[in-house]
Amino acid sequence: MSSNSLTSAGASGRTGDKVFSGFALGAGALILLVLFSVATFLVVQAAPTFVANPSEVAGGEGFWKYILPLVLGTVIAAAIALLIATPVSVGVALFISHFAPRRLAQGFGYIIDLLAAIPSVVYGAWGVAFLAPAMAPGYQWLADNAGWFPLFAGPASATGKTILTAGIVLAVMVIPIVTSLSREIFLQTPKLHEEAALALGATRWEMIRMAVFPFGRPGVVSAIMLGLGRALGETMAVALVLSSGPLIASLIRSGNQTIAAEIALNFPEATGLSLSTLIAAGLVLFVITLAVNMLARWIVGRHKEFSGAN
């Protein structure tokens, strides 16, 4: 049939290629489909809230007045969590990858991975039962000595169930994830570049700054974004630890609330419009997560030319 032997010989070996590319395409399409249907569901279900009479929405002043404090509360809690978790995680990951003796590093690594698998209720329980009471005297001290600073304005919470405590609990939950991923990335630093730095007379720390950090930066940002996802979406731990209330600047008074915890607390009794409002809140959380992720991608992408990919 075919006069060209090259055309006929090529076709038979390609079955594997075709199957795989079809499979990859299918998987990609499936993800998009799921995302799309979730987004559609959220928008359709949330729609009544946006068109409803403002006085009928929770809080009585319309959806945006209702959601804004929750957005800020969510951002504050997540920001506290990341501010604490990022340096700790990077430090621990570096210790495991570049400082600890091999044996110790392995054991340490396993423990961190185990911590990542603990369900969030457990962290929440630890937060109320142990951390909050332990923090209360500290908050009192802050209110007495640094109360002029708006973030530490009194009166301090006597139970310690504040947004700061919630942020710390979130940090503890996020640390294992970020540490575990960062460690994997640091371990993959090319030996070539580590040796280049050492051969110039770099100390270990200088080698890390010259070779390990630049190489690991995009990966660590991704790890932090995954951690942020967990912090933003965490319901149980925050619901347990935070004694919620209206938005306030002070981190050591009870008050503030996050979107996820608000949804979790109110969902069981929600019907009709109030259900729709909660779903709209979920939609807002979705948008925040997306925005933060895009921001992070942009930060990482700014120095593309210097990424070493070329």
Binding site: L192, L198, A199, L200, G201, F215, R217, F306
Partner: protein, 259 residues
């Protein structure tokens, strides 16, 4: 600036495995010394002990002495960081820092240990080092572009510029041309010839012609068999090694009648 190296009874181990045994060698200042020998005979291993880079590899350790102008690198209290800032190294595969510009790559070693350098001094040093590495004319218009955007040969010369920018006493090169094309190789060889006016250069190479072209003295390493330690077989003027070696194994190796 340039210093001599004297090695006394050096053994190198990886864990329990004795990789290089009983090396004695005296390397003159301001000269080029080539290490040749079959694969696996310990040339890289031995070279790395000359600036304590072997310590980066797990389990590697040495016995014996390496004297830099009489000072033992392995004496108590000697910091390997100090050793390496005086004895630079260029690797087989070009390894500029990918996230740094060409300029920052040259200055990478200079800015270590919190040393400060004024902008004008830095500019002068960058130009001088890149001139010294025969790279200045090719990159002077794109000093702020990433070093990883250069060709392989240019990257290798950038690495040499980076090594000489810290003004070391000795430069060690482990097969610096093995990833390069013939033209880049010639450029690096020319450079090595110029470097010996100011530096002590030690180069590992698999290329006999290269050893013959660039080096004043040549050391032949060999290994008796798999699992046996590598040894320094013969060390003499390059001319002697290639035309009139005193050991049969050397003659076999340099004439290609090996194994």
């Amino acid at each position: 600036m340039s210093k001599r190296i004297d090695v006394k009874d050096l053994n190198v181990y990886y864990g329990k495995f004795l990789a290089v045994e009983g090396v004695n060698i005296n390397i003159d200042a301001r000269s080029v010394t080539a290490f040749i020998g079959p694969s696996g005979c310990g040339k890289s291993t031995f070279l790395r002990t000359l600036n304590r880079m072997h310590e980066v590899l797990p389990g590697a350790r040495v016995e014996g002495e390496v004297l830099l102008d009489g000072d033992n690198l392995y004496a108590q209290g000697v910091d390997p960081v100090t050793v390496r800032s005086q004895i630079g190294m260029v690797f087989q595969r070009p390894n500029p820092f990918p996230t740094m510009s060409i300029r920052d790559n040259v200055l990478a070693g200079v800015k270590l240990n919190n040393r400060r350098i004024s902008k004008s001094d830095a500019d002068a040093l960058v130009e001088k080092s890149l001139q010294g590495a025969n790279l200045w004319n090719e990159v002077k218009d794109r000093l702020n572009k990433p070093g990883s955007g250069l060709s392989g040969g240019q990257q290798q010369r950038l690495c040499i510029a980076r090594a000489i920018a810290v003004q070391p006493d000795v430069i060690l090169m482990d097969e610096p041309c093995s990833a390069l094309d013939p033209i880049s190789t010639l450029a690096v060889e020319d450079l090595i010839n110029e470097l010996k006016e100011n530096y002590t250069v030690v180069i590992v190479t698999h290329n006999m012609q290269q050893a013959a072209r660039v080096s004043d003295k040549t050391a032949f390493f060999n290994i008796a068999g798999a699992g046996k330690p590598g040894k320094l077989i013969e060390y003499a003027d390059t001319q002697t090694i290639f035309s009139n070696p005193s050991v049969k194994a050397t003659e076999d190796y340099v004439s290609g009648r090996f194994g």
